[in-house]
Symmetry: C2
């Protein structure tokens, strides 16, 4: 069986949980508390020298890290990956953009405020500014379609909803992005996490 | 024919050029100077509202951004993407890691020093520290195999060599990472860019 090492406060870890549940893949969850440095113990570092979650141990015993790489592996051959080559490429575009231009701002602002107790006014102003730009880009990306890539749920939605749905915990006001608000509800319903 | 909008000083853009050339895909290159804000003109923003290169216009006229998404699309069905599902997952692990943990430090330090003329001592110390950690991780990743994923060149190598081969321009000393030095030469030879 698949084993998922994750911290339930981490959107990156929840992506893996949601993908496995959506696809009916059985797994056992091993909760590790990042704030208590449980990802830095010798036992865990032996599994993942980077000391990061999520990490999965596949049924054959091999390890895999990086949230988006893990969900791509779990979802191979499923409807969460578009069959059309261009739509698949657009999904990858969103997945790489998520790690470069969304997560480092939206997720980091939320972590610092909600888990490290930093007041919003003490955040690096870049976090608010670039996080807002990322939410704006999502709003624009949802102009023509109900999901990020066309008319069906894909891994682009799974990945990007993870921190967007809790962006308010990082001081972002989603009310400025009405299409994003509807999309979050739509993706949560599709994933059964509403 | 494929059109590639890129700046030749950008490793992200060179990934696209190298992949197209390795696979014998004909393309026309449109050089845009990021430093002269040629990616911020109304004409280019109409093609890519994010104002970023690389951007490709596919032969059917549709656009695609994000360097790693572009090379994945160009390389579909080729030997640059491992046929084995686990090796393919490991390639994705490296590709996402590159955008999250390597490029933001190694490439940014190099851009600030080599193109904005910032002295190394004025860089944010995080760039040097995390860039070095990324190079260390690459060194560890090359312990058992000549390429990042097993015994053949894959997109993981194409993507990660882009800024690693010019890391010295960002003040990093590759002499501390001998396996990385050999790997850079091996990948450059495989891509015909040595």
């Amino acid at each position: 069986m698949l084993t998922v090492y994750g911290d339930s406060i981490s959107g990156n870890c929840l992506k893996v949980k949601w993908t496995a549940e959506k696809l009916g893949i059985p797994y056992r969850w091993r909760e590790l508390d990042v704030l208590r440095a449980e990802t830095r113990t010798p036992d865990f570092l032996a599994l993942n020298p980077a000391g990061q979650v999520p990490l999965v141990i596949l049924p054959d015993g091999r390890a895999l890290a990086q949230s988006n790489a893990i969900i791509l592996h779990l979802a191979e051959g499923s409807a969460l990956i578009p069959a059309d080559a261009y739509e698949r490429a657009r999904m990858f575009e969103w997945l790489f953009w998520e790690q470069y231009s969304h997560e480092p701002y939206v997720a980091v602002a939320r972590f610092q405020m909600a888990y490290l107790g930093k007041p919003r006014e003490d955040l690096d102003p870049k976090l608010a500014e670039r996080g807002r730009a990322a939410l704006r880009r999502l709003e624009d990306g949802l102009e023509d379609t109900p999901f990020l890539v066309g008319h069906s749920l894909s891994l682009a939605d799974v990945s990007l909803v993870a921190y967007t749905r809790v962006a308010h915990e990082g001081g972002f006001d989603l009310a400025d992005f009405p299409r994003v608000v509807s999309w979050v509800a739509r993706v949560e319903a599709a994933l059964g996490i509403a």
